[in-house]
Assembly symmetry: D2
Homo-oligomer: 308 residues x 4
Amino acid sequence: MMKVIKQPGEYSYVYSRYLDPIDTVKPGEEFIVHTKDAFENRITKETDLPSEVLDEYVNPQTGPIYIEGAEPGDTLVVDIIDIQATRDYAVSAMIQDFGGLTRTQTTRLLHDPLPEKVWIYEIKDNWVTHNESLSFPWRPFLGTIGTAPNLEAISALVPFDHGGNMDVPDVKPGNSIHLPINVEGGYFYIGDCHAGQGDGELCGGALEIPAAIKLKFSLRKGKTIEWPRIESPDELMAVGSARPMEDAARIAYAELINWLVELGWDELEAYQALTQIGRLHVGNMVNPNYSLVAKINKEYVYKGRNKA
Amino acid sequence: MMKVIKQPGEYSYVYSRYLDPIDTVKPGEEFIVHTKDAFENRITKETDLPSEVLDEYVNPQTGPIYIEGAEPGDTLVVDIIDIQATRDYAVSAMIQDFGGLTRTQTTRLLHDPLPEKVWIYEIKDNWVTHNESLSFPWRPFLGTIGTAPNLEAISALVPFDHGGNMDVPDVKPGNSIHLPINVEGGYFYIGDCHAGQGDGELCGGALEIPAAIKLKFSLRKGKTIEWPRIESPDELMAVGSARPMEDAARIAYAELINWLVELGWDELEAYQALTQIGRLHVGNMVNPNYSLVAKINKEYVYKGRNKA
Amino acid sequence: MMKVIKQPGEYSYVYSRYLDPIDTVKPGEEFIVHTKDAFENRITKETDLPSEVLDEYVNPQTGPIYIEGAEPGDTLVVDIIDIQATRDYAVSAMIQDFGGLTRTQTTRLLHDPLPEKVWIYEIKDNWVTHNESLSFPWRPFLGTIGTAPNLEAISALVPFDHGGNMDVPDVKPGNSIHLPINVEGGYFYIGDCHAGQGDGELCGGALEIPAAIKLKFSLRKGKTIEWPRIESPDELMAVGSARPMEDAARIAYAELINWLVELGWDELEAYQALTQIGRLHVGNMVNPNYSLVAKINKEYVYKGRNKA
Amino acid sequence: MMKVIKQPGEYSYVYSRYLDPIDTVKPGEEFIVHTKDAFENRITKETDLPSEVLDEYVNPQTGPIYIEGAEPGDTLVVDIIDIQATRDYAVSAMIQDFGGLTRTQTTRLLHDPLPEKVWIYEIKDNWVTHNESLSFPWRPFLGTIGTAPNLEAISALVPFDHGGNMDVPDVKPGNSIHLPINVEGGYFYIGDCHAGQGDGELCGGALEIPAAIKLKFSLRKGKTIEWPRIESPDELMAVGSARPMEDAARIAYAELINWLVELGWDELEAYQALTQIGRLHVGNMVNPNYSLVAKINKEYVYKGRNKA
């Protein structure tokens, strides 16, 4: 029977090695993790004002999960096999001082805050529907996923080199996420499942759902990466998370160049190839770091080369 | 016979109302414009060092073209009908202090400059090929297109609210570009054709070609827009150009919200829709302003509404 | 008798070589220029709403003034000898979508604009006074000063490598401003005098005054600089103008290193010296480019060296 | 006899509530803390290459120190009474990928790293001297100071709302630093003493010294602040730490406005006052967040008001 992991007590609001693992998973084993939505499942109707129903912290994570055999310097590969909503509705909301077109904690301005607002969406027949205009296909993915840093405990709202709150729609079933292992056992966390999201997560709230996620871990022993990578059946991707946004773009493309160099490319030839065929889109433009995704189609990676 | 416009004397390196129009075009009339490549057609082989063969200014523009009947406050719609290369090769190059992963004139650092480097690509059978690895499909578009500002004369290297050097691959045959008219006659400029380019134009040089471009103008009298827009058969898009990159993202999405509001959407409902289904990719990350493109599929624009 | 230059017709809203010089000045000659305030002297009482009394453009400049003998590649040194207000009051105002703690044209947000507001200050006995709390010493300087670019015509609101709207309080009597000469005759412009200003010009409106300014030009023939510099009796300074603000900081310090290298310093030793004794403050945080000023006291420049 | 606190075991490289306090201090009590230099005292001569002698982490902190009676929601006021170097030399260094004019971990570029370089300075007679050119007055201050966040453990290299690695020269003897208390006991950390530093800490290494620092704590019970503040005999200051740098500037001035509002000012009048008389300089332009300091002279704070 497949292992099912549910958070035994309080969820975590940090990616931290300072917490006790809630479970242990072996590489190669398929298992299921249950997550709450980013609002802790507290918003259930459109009259629930976020400032009233939410607690101090949001974006609860399931974890840490101990990965058997994981050691600093390894790379964790997470195959996302399946995502199921564990509720028949999704929630989006504008919460104060959070979003892409509002003042925030750091972009401090003298304006009054934007209004709070909640949208409830029904999930049915592979569509997520609020009303006739706001009706979108079911495209589930994981907003927040990562491993513990070695030294820091990083808020679950922050994406950085350990993964975290990247809000990148490419973290979806069928794709593999590569994450650095910084501590023994890796201390894996996951949460913030979305029934769908546009690039940028503009208002700050995607189609938030609690979920049951089927995963499989594998380890690349002694293989070190600096920033998260994603492999889809067709593409190689690297995710950079930083501010200002151009630094996230630089990281994403520089890391993708690194990946190509590992596959045998010359650095400047890779720079040239990505100039002509690379793609670069915005994962989030709302979190403490912005996340950008640089991609290349595998067709252009392996042309004129032996397949890696 | 179709009107063919070639630059009679010197090309222009600015988007300026202070130059004399080289020709006049009527709305509704199809015509052809010839452009040089961004390197002024001066790089013809891989041993041509940019610092030696290039002049002080690059990115020569054909124009200004006077648009009959255009008045400040109108919107110009440019249908891009066709692009033909007027040479059988494309050129990419790393030029000093220009590019996405290098120090620049404003990101001033103490490093030595990166090396200069030239790649020549053959154009043949709808492919653009340097060698077996660097071989890409023919996907032509216009890197630089726009109208004159009212007051300023803006370098042809700079994208801003008048259009200019956006380097957005969606400016391609089959799509319509909407540009603000700021001066009587509009003073349209065009140049910098690319045989293809990835998002970001990473090394600073796309697949640069001289070209013959078939266009048609139409005017929306008295309809004012603040930033360039693009309409494809399937999508509505807005382009924001600014630094830091997050400001370009904010402009792009804010303008797309404006467009939806003009089509009958409520502002916060549009903010919500773009959160869930909008897309946001990078046109350029190398020019004095970065250009980002926000998009929405028309299917989601007109759902639950009468078609506009 | 001293030459007095007043704008003969319309003021200029651009730094442009495309306008006709209004007068010619010889290096070495002291002369007086009259300028309007940044609001075109249109705000005269606190009930004057900027959105009603102001025209489309603000920040009118006196110029262009032709500098005899100035050629591209020279450096212009402007000695600011004296500034006199030509009115007994100064004006500050919050105008819409302009300022350090508000949404702007490029930091586009969904907030309503901040309110408009005007403050009138009496100038008397070397104090500038609105009420008991808002009363500041008379510390006049020039907000906008520069030469024409070679190619572009740049809005008088924008600071860049030609000078322009830097809003740097060090541009004051007793100091010398070094500006690049880009076109024959230099095409000097000046305007936007302030009776005083804090670092950043936070709300977007300093203590704006019309003024009579006594200046003297000198030329350093064949000496090229890339960005404006300032010399006070005690300090050497360089001004960088860019976005994001860290790029303005990089430019300012990199240019000051260049200056030290010209004076005989080793580059990395200059980098070290500025690390320990350099100063870096914000001129403006409100204009299309931010301006930062890097400084070093001359005592540390010439220590252990022959005085330059 | 005065309490003297030395780190009993390993120094800390994070601002963390997850470590055990090394000592307890009562408000009102003067005490002395010993700190290592930012390089862990490992660089002792100019041939010590940082990449060889430094360990994985730098900037060791003394702490956490438990503050008796401190509760979340209080403000800690730290009087800096005295700083003594505990060594007769200071060290500055260029370490790889760290500094204001170099590529970094997030401003990722394809350049080779800048060279490593070490400067040793003798401390004597209130001067800090490397050679005749590099000789600066003794102006000691604390580069890193702060309290533990509630949730996160933040690297000692990062400045944010808890204080941390601000590298602000105003954190000096005679001044008081106000810090938020986020956890019971506050968990105070301190380190990174500098014998002097210019604005920005340009090359990334100030005049680094180990030190004995005399401090006194006091608590403002139930008084909450959002970002660090500094009070000198003459000035009120607020420190903002963020990227891009303009966000650090916005935070600093917005917080200083908040302070003035607490003292009875109207918000827009405070915005106006800081426009005309505020000062804004750069603490650091090298750390993961930039730190900017906004200031106002007390003379302008209390004019026309009863002294607070």
